[in-house]
Symmetry: C2
Subunit: 401 residues, 2 copies
């Protein structure tokens, strides 16, 4: 084979907001009709306040048709083929600030200023639509269901079973839990057991962080202006918040009790990994400095880095060359490239060139692992079934020499 | 000079709890009398629950007399002399779980489950007593006043001015702000201006973290047991929480607007520094991946690592050899050894041997900088005035060869 199998560990899909109505239980239609204009206004406001409207507008120019791949399957396949991508992991939130499910059922799964029942309804609407999308080419799309598990574990288990039955093999959990119970709480054990039983894959996706800390109260108090410098603090801190659930799963003994759980941390870069593992392994060593805290580790049979190697993969979308060079420190078997289509920070529409920039000159087998081999194995893609497609669309190995 | 000048960047002092009554405004005496037995019970409970009672008891055996140096000046001087320490930075909370000021005016300066007015009163009681202690040998003790600035900036400014006037040149700010305003809020600018004007030094001290996240609701709900694995998560996360204020000060532009502010981060190890600086400098570079977030950096004239070099020092108490070996990456001028007397994780009563273990074989000038030179310069100790004392008590340079 003279072409690479490419799996994008991070792609996004979502309907234009008004179209979610058809996937929502009818009893929520009135609430939906009331919320829709507010949601659209809020997205417009966010795009002005936080994302940079003109950069996004500029970037979208001439790409309008292929951006509809955020929801249109034919357009999506064209994009994947053009990028050389045989398989993809599909997260919610398509075009940034334009295709978000209703009622706070977005990628961020917020726990503040949302109604739990409505958020659940919005998640189900998205999951139903996503199951349809994935079913159009299940060998290429690995769908990630939205599961706001913090509100209600029984509901979460039901939704997880529904997702599996309907062809969605991944689930997205909230990164931020606010005052709700964090992931080492024993109440979640029933859910971990079902996820393990169904061989589904847990995902945390970067983005959420305690924005009130950075920007001030939201919604804004009358006496408050947006705090200066907050966006920089957000940029600097956001990888920490993505990886907090990992710390809770490791130290809370979740991977110890559920040894075949699989868990992915996506779009938080992979640069955090080496120091994260060093620090946590260091904390695992009992020293003169820590012994006064007693036995906080004998419930774990392995070092944090060993759980990481066994249970975790990293969705290193937007992978810069620096990360590819750190691959051995990050974990040669853990790191997975991603395109982040259709987000403006992703590689599309320049994916083929960006891939080369990131990987050129590295050993061919390492490139193969990062571009697709690791993801194919971790997610269980049918590599043989995809082989003829790869021969047609995959990037030529010779381009990376 | 054939001996090293040693400054401990991290020592603790505090009265036995009942003795704080004499330093408290009389109008709080009734509240104090009511709270004292509860405080003692809570400390006893904490020592059983969290710290390991038997390790501490074992460690204290035979050291009872010199442990009174937590509050008794003569005993304290004996300890410092025995350790070879010429000067020290004095934080609150003496013997662990035994000498804590009243009303939540402890090292942790909690913002939950405390009454702001009472916490202020407790802080003032401690500051008054500390000013007395420091005045007994001001050339050797650098006192750190407790300033719970989050509740009220005007009160904070008053207390800071009082502290300076009474010989305390440092102040301790809370690490955790809960729902209160974080440190990039413009309302604190008036306080930074006064601190700069008075040439005082800001301190953050490790320990505080969102314990509810780790251990469950506190005080415990009826339906909640302590969450398993929580102490491990605490150990792994606590350095992050210590350094959050640094991120807010840097990215919030505080060091930009107040270029001569000095700020110390104490007892969070120094191992976090190299990766912290790499990560924050990396975030400071505008890339394809971050440009959609707009201009979040033009209010800063320098890279995060440059503010760190100019405005920050690290109180690397309990410094293991690994940190001494990383000194150039951490910052040869920033890293300051500390004994952490009288805490059981500190070097006392084995300070002379532990120092040698940490520093043996390193270049003499580097040892001198880490053991005392950096702290002497940052804190402004009178090195010449201390010279004859150093000749008497300082560790022999030849021991480190």
């Amino acid at each position: 084979m003279d072409r690479h199998l490419v799996i994008s560990s991070d792609c996004h899909a979502g309907l234009p907001p008004d179209q979610y109505r058809d996937y929502l239980d009818t009893k929520y239609h009135a609430a939906f009709d009331e919320a829709l204009p507010l949601q659209i206004a809020a997205m417009t406001e966010a795009s002005k306040r936080f994302l940079v409207d003109d950069i996004n507008t500029e970037w979208r120019k001439g790409n309008e048709e292929l951006l509809t791949g955020a929801w249109d399957h034919d357009a999506r396949i064209k994009v994947l083929d053009g990028d050389g991508i045989a398989g993809e992991i599909v997260f919610p939130d398509g075009i940034t600030e334009q295709n978000t499910p209703p009622f706070g059922a977005s990628l961020g799964l917020p726990v503040k200023n949302v109604d739990p029942e409505l958020q659940w309804a919005g998640c189900r609407a998205h999951n139903r639509w996503l199951a349809e999308l994935v079913s159009m080419a299940p060998e290429r799309h690995f769908g990630v269901a939205l599961v706001p598990a913090l509100w209600d574990v029984d509901e979460a288990i039901k939704e997880i079973r529904w997702a599996k039955k309907n062809g969605l093999n991944g689930l997205l959990l909230p990164v931020i839990w606010g005052d709700l119970d964090p992931y080492h709480h024993p109440k979640y054990d029933a859910m971990w057991a079902v996820i393990e039983e169904l061989e589904m894959i847990i995902h945390f996706h970067s983005g959420p962080a305690p924005m009130e800390d950075y920007l001030g109260p939201m919604p804004a108090r009358e006496d408050s202006a947006e705090l200066p410098g907050g966006v920089g603090i957000y940029v600097a801190e956001v990888p920490f918040h993505l990886t907090r659930p990992l710390s809770f799963l490791i130290w809370g003994g979740v991977f110890e009790r559920f040894p075949t759980l699989k868990c992915v941390f996506t779009e938080g870069t992979a640069i955090w990994v080496p120091e994260y593992l060093r620090l946590h392994d260091h904390r695992f060593e009992v020293t003169h400095y820590s012994q006064k805290l007693g036995d906080y580790r004998s419930h774990l049979s392995m070092k944090p880095s060993e759980y990481f190697a066994r249970n975790v993969a990293v969705g290193a979308s937007c992978m810069p060359r620096r990360e590819a060079e750190l691959r051995h420190e990050i974990g040669m078997g853990q790191i997975m490239w991603g395109s982040d289509y259709p987000h403006p920070e992703g590689s599309w529409p320049f994916t083929p060139d960006q891939m080369v920039e990131t990987f050129r000159g590295l050993p061919e087998e390492d490139i193969a692992a990062m571009l697709g081999g690791n993801a194919a194995r971790f997610y269980g893609f049918d590599v043989e079934g995809l082989a003829s497609l790869v021969e047609e669309i995959g990037p030529l190995k010779s381009r990376f020499v």
